[in-house]
Amino acid sequence: MDILSLFIIVPVATIVALLFSKNLRQARIIAMSGSLLQLGMAINLVFAYLKERAVSDDIMVFTKDVVWFQPFNIHYSIGVDGISVALLLLTSIVVLAGVFISWKIFDLPKEFFISLIVLSIGVYGFFISLDLFTMFVFFEVAVIPMYLLIGIWGSGPREFSAMKLTLMLMGASAVLLIGILGIYFNSGADGGVLSFNILEIAKANIPIEAQRLFFPLTFVGFAVIGALFPFHTWSPDGHASAPTAVSMLHAGVLMKLGGYGVFRVAMYLLPEGAKEWSWIFIILSVIGVVYGAFSAIKQTDLKYINAYSSVSHLGLVLFALLMLNKTAWNGAIIQSLSHGFMTALFFALIGMIYERTHTRNITELGGLLKVIPFISTIYVIAGLASLGLPGFSGFVAEMNIFVGAFQDESLFIRIATILSVTVIVITAVYILRVVGIMLMGPVRNESFLKLNKVTWFEKLGILLLLLPIVGIGVAPLWISDMILESLQPFIQGLL
């Protein structure tokens, strides 16, 4: 059994085990051990990757290729590079933290954990796929459980949000499908056979007219899930209605599929299209960055604040990817990771606050630092990480992005960069505003004085997420090296 397919097999086995679980206790133990095993596998994969990388010069390592649908030349083809390894690690950490945070789910617990793990199968599969068809299959597998997760266990206008999210993401994947078919039917342009394999297509020269036509479709198809303005509206509604663990996975992992797909498929396979179209998407992503941050200032619901902050942060990822240079791309990947841990942490904390105070409206909260110091302190730390304080992962990411963006000397990009740099200040405004209103000051409500203490599983979930944020911030080089190495072939493809 190869090391990567286990990322599909172990969750499937977990689901089968969950099907036979009898009660909440068994369900959570199975879900926890399954996710723990995946985390172990992901950590093991990092070391195995580093060892393999030292001896191998291939773009992808641990590759495996099995013919699936022979007439279409569809293969089950997997492999990883440094970027996918890092994202797999992110996924496994967030999933495990998500299981810890949903420890006390009482309504249909078995079904909840099954849906959560189906979602994670989609994400794992997406990150390891080298075949566009397989990748697309996993993409949809990741999206559809969201409907049930938000619809059944959500709050507020959950039916509306779930439907909106599913339809927008599925609509995007429909657009993406045309892009993928366009790439497929042009992959034999050099006289070779048609192929869905990313590495093979990258070698073929797709005609420029086809790139021009299919780049925007592929880009938009992926970028919708990465919250590209103006297609981001599914995300705040979805976040606000989703249960805590789902928000964590949704913002922490699912939205990363967008950036990863844009990078690995749209830009890698259609570089000429990327150059021609980048201006319009740069404009959109800058609008997303600034607009998201300004929207976050005006929100009073904690989840909406973080949802819009995600729009802003992920807009930065797309912006950095569109800069088409190595430093900015490095920043984009680190930003993906950093945002993944950070928002997951935020949503976990918001979930805990909500569970105790039964409100997410910051105007009703106040003085929480005095009554629930652990949660509040971590919230401050997460906030500081989010606004890019040195020592945390956000700083490393944003530093790389803006340094990379400034390397381009054209006036257009300069202006775009300057506009998006302002986000650093705006982020500080909305983060500090929440900290000021919610955590400092007098305790607004008598009942807040008797809030429950933090339980061990909540602490575990939080520490799990906090560790990598600090880890990347303090010692960014190891992960940065791993990513930079993997970026090399992509840069070559572009020049």
């Binding site: 699936w68 007439p71 366009g182």
Partner: protein
């Protein structure tokens, strides 16, 4: 004629024997144990289905009126499996609703006769055999649609079906006579040689297609569909939407890809228009349906629109993707109809609103329904996704990207209404949800086979590869 030649008609002969056995059997089965007919029918048909998988040679009979090859054989097998699932799902219904007042044997006899007509239709080598098959497949179904004699709406459905069907087959016959007038032959092989783009041929062709389009319920020949499905017994609605439609698609495909191939420049534009209209109308009308049968009726109209995407390109890839899609569609739709059938039989409820909170009382039925709907909507990892993806690939291979765009847009619309059912079953809680009930063994078996089909047909790639190889026969 050599007696061994008659073996080429094995499917037809055995099914005829089954029908005759049932007629004879009815005489010997006593009134007290009349549900033995159900067991007998299912057993005999199961046997027939199993025999169908034995190897059969290619060949022609009656001077080319009847022909068979591996692909036709495969399709007959597909129809057999579909009918077998349908029999399993409707056995209890016959027992509980029909056998109170009458014998019930005629249900099976009529159903098998119609299937026999379909065999002849898809094996036909000339228009005479085709027309006979078409009529034989339609008339018994009209009787079956009006079968629930205690319900007025059922009679209405029967009348609607027979009138529309008569109109449609009249139109097709008119078309056939024009084609005969221009080519001087009713044999497919002769027509291929003479067919050309003169006006009378075109008129004949269009009229003929209109007749078949009625059976597949393509827009604008779809008006009968929802009303007939709503009134007819669920088993018959299911039969119409799955078996009857599948067979009609298959023969349409054979005719388009062989006899009318020279006219491809004309019919691919025709199908383009019909496909767009069918997808949009089917999907938009499905959005507001509350009755599950009407809902599935419009959904099946929309599905027929997707099938045309594969038909349009007229080559091996198109043939393979269409057959594959039809195969998957049969399993998915039968699963959906099966659940509706089970619930209707136990509680008499057929509205979407009645399904609220179903998951908490009947989790298995809800899961089957969800899988079936996901398969119809085209969501991986269930089979429907693969069927749709390959159809779209086929259309894109000839550069119909805009049509594929319209199709995927329609997939998104369809997802909305499929999710409405999922929403009712899973998201909603209801105080008067349908209480838990146990299904009988036949129903369980019928649903089980359908679900296995939905889960396996997509992921297990040899199925598609086998169909793809066989499709080379069409060239």
């Amino acid at each position: 004629m050599d007696l061994s030649n008659i073996l080429l008609m094995r499917f037809e002969v055995i099914l005829l024997v089954v029908i005759l056995l049932l007629i004879v059997g009815e005489i010997f089965i006593s009134q007290a144990k009349k549900d033995a007919v159900i067991h007998l029918s299912i057993f005999l048909f199961g046997l027939h289905t199993a025999i169908g998988f034995l190897n059969l040679e290619e060949g022609r009979l009656f001077g080319g009126m009847f022909h068979t090859n591996a692909m036709i054989e495969l399709f007959k097998n597909i129809l057999n499996i579909g009918v077998l699932i349908l029999l399993l799902q409707s056995g209890d219904w016959v027992k509980e609703k029909i056998m109170k007042n009458s014998r019930g044997t005629e249900f099976f006899i009529l159903l098998f006769s119609s299937l026999l007509g379909m065999y002849f239709m898809i094996s036909s080598g000339d228009f005479l055999m085709f027309y006979l098959g078409l009529e034989l497949s339609t008339l018994p179904v009209a009787a079956l649609a009006a079968y629930e004699t205690t319900k007025r709406i059922s009679s209405e459905s029967g009348i609607k079906l027979i009138l529309s069907a008569a109109m449609a087959s009249g139109t097709a016959l008119m078309g056939i006579s024009f084609l005969y007038a221009t080519s001087g032959s009713i044999y497919f092989n002769d027509i291929i040689l003479t067919v050309g783009a003169n006006n009378l041929t075109l008129l004949g062709f269009v009229l003929f297609i209109a007749g078949l389009a009625f059976k597949i319920s393509l827009v604008p020949f779809h008006f009968w569909t929802a009303d007939v499905y709503e009134g007819a017994p669920i088993a018959i609605a299911s039969y119409l939407s799955v078996i009857s439609k599948g067979a009609a698609v298959f023969i349409l495909m054979i005719l388009l890809f062989t006899v009318f191939k020279p006219l491809m420049e004309i019919w691919d534009k025709l199908l383009y228009g019909i496909a767009v209209a069918t997808m949009f109308l089917g999907n938009l009308f499905a959005l507001r349906q509350q009755n599950m049968k009407r809902f599935l009726a419009y959904s099946s109209i929309a599905q027929a629109g997707f099938i045309l995407l594969g038909l349009m390109i007229g080559n091996q890839l198109g043939a393979a993707t269409v057959m594959y899609f039809v195969l998957i569609y049969i399993f998915s739709n039968l699963a959906a109809f099966g659940v509706v059938q089970a619930i209707s039989l136990q509680t008499g409820k057929e509205l979407m609103g009645d399904y609220e909170g179903l998951y908490r009382t009947n989790p298995n039925l809800s899961l089957i329904m969800m899988l079936a709907l996901f398969s119809l909507a085209g969501i991986p990892p269930v089979a429907g996704f693969f069927g749709k993806f390959f159809l779209f690939t086929a259309a894109a291979s000839e550069g119909y990207y805009f049509l594929v765009f319209l199709a995927v847009f329609n997939v998104t619309i369809s997802l909305y209404y499929y999710l409405l059912v999922v929403r009712a079953m899973f998201l909603r809680k209801s105080n008067n949800a349908i209480p838990y009930f146990e299904n009988k063994i036949y129903m369980r078996l019928g649903l089980l086979i359908a679900v296995i089909g939905i889960l396996v047909l997509g992921i297990y790639s040899p199925v598609y590869e086998y169909i793809y190889e066989l499709s080379a026969n069409l060239q």
